[in-house]
Symmetry: C2
């Protein structure tokens, strides 16, 4: 029906063949030991730093070799921190030694949603509470009142009262501190207008461990499939590979702004079933990563119905719920959508992932988050609880931040005005940056870029000249990775090749965050525009 949908069946068959070919190639590389070229071997992920005395690949007497490792680990890929980031780190080290080493004076990391690494300031109230909970003796000092807002002091006391013995250095309940889960449940209720149960909340070190836990639970073998959007955030492909399952792809329709079509879901589900795969779950990332679209509520209803009808767990990655930049779109949680359709606990299995790393807070390094699980039987929940218990608990600083993110200052609180100013400043600036970058990308020859309605990324499509593709092939690298490496070496800008997220075969993309501070954006646009022009000039057919 639209340009990318046509030919998908064929593409998929090609892709499956390609994947098999890739596996065989990997195996033969492994057999041929470590003489394989760096770019295409498992060395792709080699550590950024060379270690004197540590490079003992040739030592055959050691008990661990690549061919004795878990093959699932070898199969797993994670492009967001892959080869290009390693090159960037190397260039950065070089620049420290000689600031004139390259035609740019700094590396600009647009590869990862890591706002504070690019200068975004944390929300003051959150950090005040965290400091007070970290060093509780401050609460007994009168000087503290001059240094902290009064509501941060109140909140710290309230949080400490919820922790047995006020011990922020103790392991908590495996699901997280009950009082903090109460605050999160209240925040979910306020957001959705439907009840939330603190016993449904499992606090996690960021969203990733929650995703791993669900994959571990649902995947027994390669006969278990997980429907994932393509393009997807590579955590999903990595986690499915590590747990030995099958990623069942469904393609987002780039031409309709990365639309999610139920007909495509049905088709891929049938296709997987015909291959003997039991599809266990559907992953939906909303707002989208790397694609930035925000789903319409009507579309979400169809998705919920699809999961209910087909018996799939709906794994809703909702970590960008606060990142919506366009007035015509609004975030709706899948739980709210399901409840508003009249579906209750016994109708739909739903897991919603939230993280403190995204939103306007961007507290990536604090590793906090939660998953809200609904629709699971008590015996299955007990197994999830057990998995959480094996790792004891998520970190308490992250737990505290997760509760704050879901229960920020309210009107009338001492911090409220400054909190709102900080929050809106960040979100409106992100919206502006998204727009500027999108417009700049769309001006480039052969580049089309959907708008970032939400999340933190743009995912432009680059129509690469045939000569560039041939040059990439000669360099034994994917054409978009070839482009991204050239971009890095020419400008210091780090983006992630579309091939790291998967894409419709034969199309090429990259993911670029919208996170550099506003004052850097004009320079980025200029450097990117110049680079692109010279690249196209070099490879124009």
């Amino acid at each position: 029906m639209r340009r990318f949908v046509i030919g998908q069946a064929k593409n998929l068959i090609d892709q499956t063949r390609q994947a098999r070919h890739e596996s065989l190639r990997l195996l033969s590389l492994l057999a041929a030991s470590d003489s394989a070229p760096v770019l295409s071997s498992p060395r792709l992920f080699s550590s950024s730093s060379d270690m004197s005395g540590s490079d003992s690949s040739s030592s055959s007497s050691l008990p661990v070799t690549l061919d004795s490792l878990n093959p699932k680990v070898l199969k797993c890929e994670y492009a967001v921190r892959g080869e290009i980031v390693n090159i960037a780190q190397k260039l950065q080290e070089d620049l420290k030694i000689n600031k004139d080493a390259y035609p740019f004076d700094e590396i600009i990391y647009c590869n990862i949603g890591n706002p504070q690494s690019l200068g975004q300031q944390p929300i003051t109230f959150f950090r005040e509470v965290l400091a007070l909970c970290s060093h509780t003796a401050l609460l007994d000092e009168s000087a503290t009142h001059g240094l902290f807002s009064s509501d941060s002091i109140d909140r710290a006391w309230k949080i400490l009262d919820q922790i047995p013995g006020k011990a922020t250095g103790a392991y908590s309940h495996s699901q997280g501190i009950k009082g903090l889960r109460d605050a999160i449940a209240a925040g979910i209720e306020a957001r959705d207008g439907f009840p939330a149960d603190p016993n449904d909340i499992f606090m996690t070190d960021g969203a990733s461990p929650g995703v791993h836990m669900m994959m571990q639970l649902l995947i027994s073998s390669e006969k278990d499939g997980i429907l994932c959007p393509i393009p997807q955030y590579p955590l999903y492909s990595a986690s499915i590979a590590l747990h030995g399952g099958s990623l069942v792809p469904y393609y987002l329709d780039e031409a309709s702004g990365w639309g999610l079509e139920i007909s495509e879901l049905k088709k891929q589900l049938q296709d997987a079933r015909s291959k003997g795969i039991t599809v266990r779950a559907l992953v939906v990332i909303n707002p989208g990563n790397p694609t930035g679209q925000v789903l319409a509520e009507e579309n979400q209803r169809e998705i919920v119905d699809f999961c209910k009808k087909e018996g799939l767990v709906l794994l809703a990655d909702e970590v960008y719920q606060e990142n919506v930049y366009v007035p015509d779109k609004k975030f709706h949680s899948f739980k709210k959508v399901a409840r508003s359709m009249g579906y209750g606990e016994k109708d739909v299995c739903l897991v919603s992932f939230q993280s403190i790393s995204k939103g306007y807070y961007g507290e990536c390094g604090k590793r906090g988050g939660y998953m809200e699980i609904t629709g699971f039987t008590s015996d299955v929940r007990a197994q999830i609880y057990k998995l959480a218990s094996v790792n004891l608990c998520s970190n308490i600083s992250g737990q505290i931040l997760a509760s704050l993110v879901m229960s920020p200052p309210k009107p009338g609180d001492d911090s409220y005005d400054s909190y709102i100013a900080e929050k809106e400043g960040i979100l409106s600036s992100l919206a502006k940056r998204a727009k500027t970058l999108e417009e700049a990308l769309n001006k480039l020859e052969g580049v089309t870029c959907n708008r970032a309605e939400g999340a933190m990324y743009l995912f432009p499509c680059i129509n690469l000249p045939q000569m560039a593709i041939a040059a990439a092939e000669a360099a034994k690298t994917a054409p978009d990775a070839f482009y991204c490496k050239r971009l890095l070496n020419a400008t210091g800008i780090v983006v992630v090749p579309g091939s790291g997220f998967r894409q419709v075969p034969g199309t090429w993309h990259f993911r670029c965050t919208i996170l550099p501070q506003e004052d850097k954006i004009p320079a980025i646009v200029n450097r990117l525009t110049e680079f692109h022009k010279s690249f196209m000039d070099e490879f124009r057919n």
Copy 2:
């Protein structure tokens, strides 16, 4: 040669048979759905809180049921947070409502090494630095100098200078912040007298994720075995089960103070190999958990030689390295031992796990730690790096604490005297508590208890009367779990049954931490003594 070694061959055969029987029983329970009794079914781990509207076990329309879950998850057990803790949490809730509900007024958690939950205070210097790094605006305020020690301010600045953009809210390098790894490596060098490379350090959210990462790397199937001490910390059995490997047990000799005999290692290794299992690694926990012994250096040398000769990775759980309580024992890291034997990077594959949760710091809730990996080829290291990257990074607060633990205040620093006083106060008190509890346990009828040379636990052997064993069988529970539940219900003291750690079949133990504050110890001793007497009176043959 000693009382427990005799008969081990027979015991092991019995145990293997028992394990197979247990698997079959579990499978049949699963097939019989959820009508199985709570104590022996997978519901053992059911969440502590009942949820209104969530108990939908009967809803057969939901897509996820126990029999569709990953069987490795079902197989995994984790007793430290198992059924008895759930009962304890229930009793605690009851006591909140009615303080006279039971013959005790509080629950005393001796089940888990969680010092701050029992009143241990954090080290002030560590928390000062953490607060300053959490809310860096404090560093610009003059009032801060009145509230913080001068070296905590200096240290916070030093740490912030090591973080790109001073952004403690940003994801770090996948292995952890380089400057913090430098501090850790320097701390290891100071401890061992041998070089340590910051590039060998992988920072983790506590020790557990590091252990999982290594198991994930080494285990492909049940044909891969990991030699584990019995008794063992159940993280190891849980992680091996989750990754689908085989736990190859070696028995510690209780009669010789939980001695680790090389002859036993050899025997079990041969036995596993004869069953077609490739043994990949040897786990050694030193100081021991749950057993509390500290290995002699000579014994460690034999272990290193054994691993080298047999081609095993040595997984050294060294999280209790600061917890040694007896003058005749000293902690030596396995790396120091290996290097002092002349073995370098190319001779032995060694992973040392360290955690901020233990020692005198006990910062469990902060989830920090690291593993130092040596002797791996660069291509294998690249795979470990990739696994670390998939989860982005460990939490920065934990990273900061891990660096502080390995580089605490030095003589002359503003905090030094108070730091030393806090540290020595905690460690000498722990030693005293260990001694008092050990002596009290040894006075009980039919109980023998090795001394806690290190770590945080006592693991007494209880010679249970035949009638108690029969009563436990009738209650469908392990005899030591029966004892521990009776203890909990009579006294409010929570300990973990030996069966959760595995033990020589036919022997019964429990693990009790030495962590309750000193002023609680007399009451614990009294309650335990009284309970034990009445239990023995009740079941005396």
